[in-house]
């Protein structure tokens, strides 16, 4: 066990060793955010398993490692050929981050319609820091735990998306995070701010990609603000190497009748955690969050949802599915809060887990916390195995056992993965899933031959 003092030391160490190369020095509002967050690192409670949100998650393995910040050598990647990471057929505006830093030379932001800003945080700090300040201060995420505070204390780079009133973006926006730190364990902390003004509409695809030998720690913080009648389709795919530690904290704030549809996929990493905070701030907001995770040996998928109905007549749907194999572990913690004033709230939460091995483990914990009396809320979780009768059915039709398992697992995930609208992305997810599931079939075969 890592002691509280060691934990404190870990955060302060990363604060001090990373503070050197930060942009926007001298910009007062930014320095204030950093400074306050930096100070809170010494004051915030240490994370431990007595806390509800960390009950099933040990961060000891993470805290035993030291990470270094990707430095100025980022220029070496400026002519990187990113073709092999692109999805064939996905025509998108694009920002590309390598090891946490945006490389303008790799971006595709030409022909953006009027009223749309898509840029790196660093660039925006140079071109229009006042405008950035307005957006930032309106929507500054809470830095209420050590990880979000560490991100805020070291704001360096990230994506800035601002879509003006009533602008409807037909073409999706893609943000690609490539993690190429093969030799070193890198600390990568993108800080994103996404603002959709009234009536704006967009599709955003975020993909986190990293090699198998990348052992970095990615501590993302993303703020999303949807104004009245704004609509965002948000796809997030975490598919990093099995050594990677990935934490993404998302703050979503929704205005009147705004619509958020999120699909979160987590396939890789030693530890892949998402802390998703949705605040349904005004009447009639709709929030739909789907998720799918796969975990195998030495992997932990860790989803924490907080959906807060703070205004009347809002709707939320959370549907998460997990496929666990080998010694994979998953935590699902879904929490819906309905305020006293939030009458007419309609919330549904579900989490279904498919266990392909007896050694896999899942902790699933749905919670409803309701203070209003006129609400429609439900939650449900399942943990199950594949029915042998289904395997027999497929085998009796000539399909071998591994293929049968893979088909049934894909079938289990189908209602989540088939909901992906961009075809290129839907096919990519299907391919990734097939690959993950065939790997699990291979390892199972090996297990059996060892016996």
């Amino acid at each position: 066990m890592i002691s509280a003092a060691q934990q404190n030391e870990w955060f302060l160490h990363h604060l001090s060793q990373s503070a050197g190369d930060l942009p926007g020095r001298g910009i007062e509002w930014l320095e204030n955010i950093r400074e306050q967050a930096g100070q809170s690192l010494a004051q915030l409670p240490v994370l431990n398993r007595k806390q509800e949100t960390w009950r099933y998650t040990s961060i000891d393995a993470l805290l035993q490692q030291r990470f270094i910040t990707a430095g100025a050598d980022i220029g070496a990647f400026k002519n990187l050929d990113v073709t092999r990471w692109l999805l064939p057929g996905l025509d998108a505006y694009r920002l590309v981050f390598v090891n946490g830093r945006c490389l303008p030379t790799l971006a595709n932001v030409a022909d953006l319609p009027d009223g749309v800003v898509l840029d790196s945080l660093r660039a925006a700090l140079t071109t229009d820091p006042e405008q950035l300040c307005t957006w930032f201060e309106q929507h500054q995420g809470r830095t209420d735990n050590l990880f979000t505070a560490l991100n805020s204390a070291l704001i360096n780079d990230g994506a800035l998306l601002h879509i003006g009133k009533n602008v409807v973006l037909e073409k999706p926006i893609e943000i690609l995070y490539l993690n190429l730190g093969e030799e070193q364990s890198l600390l990568v902390q993108p800080r994103n701010l996404l603002v959709l003004e009234a009536g704006a509409s967009a599709t955003l695809v975020e993909r986190h990609i990293g090699g198998d030998s990348c052992s970095g720690f990615h501590n993302h913080l993303t703020e999303i603000h949807l104004a009245k009648d704004a609509s965002l389709d948000h796809y997030r795919l975490q598919d990093e190497g099995d050594q990677t530690h990935h934490l993404c904290t998302l703050f979503l704030s929704q205005g009147e009748r705004s619509h958020y549809r999120g699909s979160h996929f987590s396939f890789g990493g030693a530890w892949a955690r998402t802390d998703f905070h949705a605040l349904l701030r005004q009447t009639g907001a709709e929030c739909e969050v789907n998720g799918l995770y796969t975990v195998g040996d030495q992997q932990l998928s860790d989803f924490h949802l907080r959906v807060h109905h703070a205004a009347p007549g809002c709707t939320s749907r959370e549907r998460f599915k997990g496929i666990l194999y080998g010694k994979g572990r998953a935590v699902f913690d879904g929490h819906i809060i309905v305020d006293q004033d939030a009458q007419g709230s309609d919330a549904q939460l579900s989490n279904d887990n498919l266990m392909l091995s007896r050694s896999a483990e899942v902790d699933t914990k749905p919670q409803l916390e309701i203070y209003a009396d006129d609400v429609k809320c439900s939650h449900g979780t399942t943990v199950g195995e594949i029915d042998p009768a289904q395997i027999f059915y497929l085998r009796s039709r000539g399909i071998d056992k591994e293929k049968a398992l893979s088909m049934l697992s894909l079938g289990f995930a189908a209602d989540i993965s088939n909901g992906i609208k961009p075809e290129a992305l839907r096919e990519y997810v299907a391919r990734q899933l097939t690959e993950k599931l065939s790997i699990q079939a291979d390892s199972k075969e090996k297990d059996q031959s060892n016996v």
Partner: protein, 249 residues
């Protein structure tokens, strides 16, 4: 084609089949009838390779090979098809994708080339029309939300696609109305050929009006207690199983 000698099968220590003998030649259609719990479904499941059954004695040879040592899917590759009594639902598994995987797995195992998508689609649509299966069901998840009759038609469709050498139909007629019964029987009759054999397991003589069997066997208490031609089925229809059980005892 199929030779079963003294087959003994248990489920969880309970003996179900107690020395069953059956010889089926190429091109023959055999009906197996018998009261509930006599072992009819156990026989079909054991032949198709369902796990969970313990063969405690006897042997089954299929085209000269030891059937019981073959993996389930290998039996399918070798031409065995079981039309299930209760086809399971496969949520999220597309019916067309499933049938194509199945057909191509069997074709690969037989050293044939895989069917490309257009040829496959043409064939499956044509066959679906023959068994009067709503084309919309091809795009749905396998058997999910299908009515009882639709499930059985979907079984016959798969049989028609796979063109098995030995088809075992386990109470395919149960739950079917007379029109559906005719269509299902039509599908079976189209499959009849000098090199294919069919086992029809049924409770009722009714199906045998449409699928005329070469032989009828009565299975009681895990053994075949009487065999005859189609007249035997008619006799059973009139007199029930009671008299045979008495004769057998």
């Amino acid at each position: 084609m199929l030779s079963i000698k003294n087959l003994q099968v248990s489920i969880e220590e309970k003996a179900i089949l107690k020395g069953l003998n059956l010889e089926i030649g190429a091109g023959e259609v055999h009906a197996i009838m018998g009261p509930n719990g006599s072992g009819k479904s156990t026989l079909s499941q054991v032949l198709a390779g369902r796990e969970g059954y313990r063969v405690t004695g006897g042997e089954v040879r299929y085209e000269g090979q030891d059937l019981l040592s073959m993996e389930t899917e290998v039996r399918a590759h070798a031409g065995i098809f079981l039309g299930m009594q209760y086809p399971v639902e496969l949520p999220g598994v597309n019916n067309l994708t499933f049938m194509r995987e199945s057909l191509n797995a069997v074709r690969r195992a037989r050293g044939e080339s895989e069917l490309d998508a257009p040829s496959f689609l043409r064939r499956v649509r044509e066959q679906a029309k023959r068994v009067d299966l709503d084309q919309a069901l091809l795009k749905r998840s396998v058997n999910q939300g299908f009515s009882g009759g639709e499930k059985k038609r979907n079984e016959i469709l798969q049989m028609a696609m796979l063109e098995p050498k030995l088809a075992i139909l386990d109470e395919t007629d149960s739950g079917l109305d007379i029109d559906a019964l005719r269509i299902v029987a039509g599908g079976v009759n189209e499959l009849r050929s000098p090199d294919r054999s069919i086992i029809v397991i049924t409770h009722y003589q009714r199906l045998l009006d449409y699928i005329e069997p070469d032989r009828v066997h009565v299975l009681v208490g895990g053994r075949i207690v009487r065999s005859g031609d189609k007249q035997l089925a008619l006799e059973l229809e009139q007199r029930g199983y009671g008299w045979i059980e008495e004769v057998a005892a």
